[in-house]
């Protein structure tokens, strides 16, 4: 297993370099202009100067290699310097956002907590409600509960979050006034009262996203349980005279969870990617919102860095899913 992991990690290096190049190439080919959002009164020659100062007059390949140096060398060294390990000249050029002129990594660090709280919590909640729903739906297939579960899953799947989000705002903020419609990032949780406020402002975005996540995972769980319920070894377990609970929870569930855990692991990078639309609807200034603003402003370093980090997470969690599969299923051996 260790050899497998090391081999796979080595393989990710060329994969990720290739991905970073492709992202850079696409961003360069896109007709976006970092000066496009500036006032129209700025004359063209000044605009050209601004572009030059951003380094946009250099050929694409030079800019790509510079980004590589900044991201792969300077940023890690900078991170080490923050921990007190100084290597080389501390005046290194970092990946700087075109829009805010602050280092992209710092921007990401600022946005990360909101995204992890809201989107991460919605994923946890989604998984926690999806698993029991999937299990009960499968055990009582075609029952009233199962039909309801299918119906709600279909809604969660097919109704987009920009609709459910706005609908929730109309019902719970405008009509009932239970929850605030705007997420307040400046809220500091230091007492029970502020914790209550935090929970209230998280409730709606978390619910909207959790519905979406739960819809998908509960279907997987149900299908996987149904697959296993008809297996011969389940009949063997019943013939052993085990309690139905033991049969379902020990034999069926444990085997059914293998593919579901893989699906859950593969979904984790999406949490870090943020939920662009839901974050917009509830004004959560998380990573998704950072990305969409950067795209609108033609902020190539921010878009490049963010997208690349997403790519790293996806590759990493694919590997984690594979390793989990190997640990959970004794039939699978990698070496």
């Amino acid at each position: 297993m260790l050899n497998f992991t090391i081999r796979r990690l080595l393989f990710t290096i060329p994969t990720l370099l290739f991905i970073s190049f492709v992202i850079f190439f696409i961003l360069d080919a896109a007709p976006s202009d970092p000066t496009g959002n500036l006032p129209l009164t700025i004359p063209p020659d000044v605009r050209e100067k601004i572009r030059e100062s951003l380094g946009l007059d250099q050929p694409m390949i030079i800019r790509y290699l510079l980004w590589c140096k900044q991201f792969f060398v300077n940023e890690p060294l900078n991170l080490l310097a923050q921990w007190g390990i100084n290597i080389g000249d501390p005046d290194r050029l970092r990946v700087i956002s075109f829009q805010t002129r602050s280092p992209v990594v710092d921007l990401i660090a600022q946005r990360m907590p909101q995204t992890l709280w809201v989107v991460g919590m919605s994923y946890v909640v989604g998984v926690l409600i999806a698993l029991p729903i999937g299990i009960i739906s499968a055990v009582k297939q075609y029952s009233w509960f199962d039909q309801m579960g299918t119906f709600i899953s279909m809604i969660g799947f097919s109704v987009p979050t920009f609709f459910t989000g706005v609908l929730m705002i109309v019902i719970f903020s405008v009509w009932l006034g239970w929850f605030p419609s705007i997420y307040d990032t400046t809220l500091v949780v230091d007492s029970w009262r502020t914790l209550g406020l935090q929970i209230r402002q998280m409730a709606m975005p978390v619910f909207v996203l959790a519905l979406f996540n739960a819809a998908q995972i509960s279907r997987f769980m149900r299908a996987s349980m149904l697959d296993n319920l008809n297996q011969d070894y389940v009949r063997t377990a019943r013939a052993k005279g085990l309690r139905e609970r033991t049969v379902l929870l020990v034999h069926v569930l444990r085997n059914s969870l293998i593919p579901v855990i893989t699906v859950i692991a593969l979904g984790v990078p999406q949490v870090f990617g943020g939920a662009i639309i839901t974050e917009q609807v509830f004004k959560v200034n998380g990573l998704g919102q950072l990305l969409i603003i950067a795209i609108q402003g033609g902020d190539i370093p921010t878009v490049q860095t963010l997208t690349f980090i997403f790519a790293v997470l996806i590759v990493l969690f694919n590997l984690i899913a594979d390793i989990l599969y190997g640990i959970l299923d004794p039939r699978i051996r990698y070496d």
Binding site: D232, T236, G241, R254, P330
Partner: protein, 341 residues
């Protein structure tokens, strides 16, 4: 050849008086599976997988249950072990009717009766080690400490000829024959009296089949087991069984001692079935008279009127298409369901 007793009438019917004392008595067992169709999934019919079976299994014997695929032999075996909820009928195990039991009461009787399954690969939980597969019924039904439990597991592994070193391996690491040995050890863990062997050798290589059959015979002798041996392998049943029951489309056509059935089959279906067994001797094989049945087996969801075999019987008479033949005992002890004998 005069009919002496009938077994179709009521559950109260006198048991067939044959040698030995019965461990399992099955009376009028019916196992119907509902068919759901349409948008609202209404029940539109039922598959009569097992339709009115009555027979006894005597202590220490092996009753062979033969028939072509789809005739309901596996369903019958599972229904008798109450792996299904039976539609109707009685199953008396040592005098207790287990047909209406459920839940805890049924579980308490599980140690008495066990099953050896057809597919040794699929019937073992892939995520459990051999030791935990064998020990699980012990955990459920017996209070043993760790050491006593491991001792019992090793004992069982020895009994079925598995190396003790394999205790911590997973089922996929074994060959088919070894997996079936695990399945047998698991079935034996609670010292059952009655074991249903559901085609235990059908999924195995011919060279391994003999080993497993010898193991089953050996265990029967040592532990005084009673088998219901379900198989479509007529030669193997002849080798193993003391009595044989022939099933067709959910019903027993003929049941009798092995020699009666193989040497002198009376029912037209038994005759046709046994005529399909190849002879090892080429001379005998060349003038073996095969009875070729016409047509296909009717659907068990819609069995024919009268005798179930009437659509394919070479000796069919008018009465066969009108009346279901009674399951009668012959003067020589065998039971048969046919108007012609």
């Amino acid at each position: 050849m005069t009919p002496e007793t009938t077994l179709t009438a009521a559950p109260k019917t006198a048991a067939p008086a044959t040698e030995g004392d019965p461990l399992v008595r099955v009376r009028n067992l019916k196992m119907y599976f509902p068919i759901y169709r349409g948008v609202l999934r209404r029940q539109v019919g039922e598959v009569k997988a097992v339709d009115d079976l009555s027979f006894d299994i005597f202590r220490g014997e092996t009753l062979g249950l033969v028939g072509e695929s789809g005739c309901g032999k596996s369903s019958a075996g599972r229904a008798i072990l109450r792996l299904y909820d039976v539609t109707d009928g009685q199953i008396l195990l040592d005098g207790t009717d287990i047909a209406p039991l459920s839940g805890r009461e049924l579980r308490r009787l599980r140690p008495e009766m066990q099953m050896i399954f057809q597919d040794p690969q699929a019937s073992l939980n892939p995520r459990m080690t051999v030791a935990s597969i064998i020990a699980e019924p012990l955990d459920e039904h017996r209070r043993l400490d760790r050491r006593a439990r491991m001792e019992r597991v090793f004992e069982l592994m020895d009994a079925v000829g598995l190396d003790r070193d394999f205790a911590n391996r997973f089922p996929h690491e074994f060959s088919g024959g070894q997996r079936q040995r695990i399945g047998i050890a698991r079935a034996l863990a609670l010292n059952p009296k009655f074991i249903v062997c559901d085609e235990p050798i059908a999924a195995l290589d011919v060279s391994i089949q003999a080993q497993v059959v010898n193991l089953l015979e050996d265990l029967q002798e040592r532990m005084g087991l009673t088998y219901l041996f379900i198989s479509h392998d007529l030669s193997m049943v002849r080798h193993l069984a003391t009595r044989v029951a022939v099933m067709y489309l959910g019903r027993i056509m003929e049941i009798g001692s092995r020699d009666q059935l193989y040497d002198d089959p009376r029912h037209p279906y038994t005759q046709a079935l046994l005529s399909a067994v190849p002879e090892p001797d080429p001379a005998a094989e060349s003038d073996r008279h095969r009875i070729i049945l016409e047509g296909d087996v009717p659907s068990p969801a819609n069995p024919p009127e009268g005798c179930n075999f009437c659509t394919r019987c070479p000796q069919v008479k008018d009465i066969c298409k009108r009346e279901t033949p009674a399951f009668r005992q012959m003067s020589d002890g065998r039971f048969i369901a046919c108007h012609l004998v």
